[in-house]
Symmetry: C2
Subunit: 77 residues, 2 copies
DNA sequence: TCAAGAATGGGACTATAGTCCGTGGTTTAA
DNA sequence: TTAAACCACGGACTATAGTCCCATTCTTGA
């Protein structure tokens, strides 16, 4: 999987899980609102410094942007 | 630890372990020779796309750039 | 010593990361 | 209906990632 797409998925996943809007996250991370949107759509190629800012704002670690999300819920018995 | 410094240490560690010079790695990754040097010295803020190219050339994964290296050899008995 | 490979360093340049401002679409609540 | 919150999307702009070229230093081996 492409790193960019992986970051896109994981960022959205982590942000939504925290209950943050793109705008609120952008403010917390000190970056531009539209850029969050573009990263989540896989349109951008962010720097590690920027990922670090976002990770801090999400109280997450950078590696979480590069790990594969669990494919699905384990089927209920 | 700063992400940039972490990447610097891990890149050098992985490259040296592979027995590659900065120049050979740069050629394999399709990037500029001097840029490898600057990343390893923590002077640059690379993009995820570039890290991916380097990781591929090293036959490593991006997450390895962000994990803490083992602090030391376990002391021989 | 000398040569040659490895790394650092800088300056000028080009490509693109990242900002800023605005528009419009969708959904939900009043 | 309207307001408000969220998000996709575009264009123009500025900052910086990344290249290219050249010189210098430091090892290490012959």
């Amino acid at each position: 999987m492409q790193a960019r797409a992986l970051v896109a998925r994981n960022l959205r996943r982590l942000r939504v899980r925290r209950g943050l809007s793109q705008e609120n996250l952008a403010v917390d991370a000190g970056i531009d609102r539209t850029y969050v949107s573009r990263i989540e759509r896989g349109l951008e190629n962010p720097t590690v410094g920027l990922l670090e800012q976002i990770a801090d704002a999400l109280d997450a670690k950078i590696v979480e942007f590069f790990s594969l999300p669990n494919p699905a819920e384990p089927p209920p018995k």
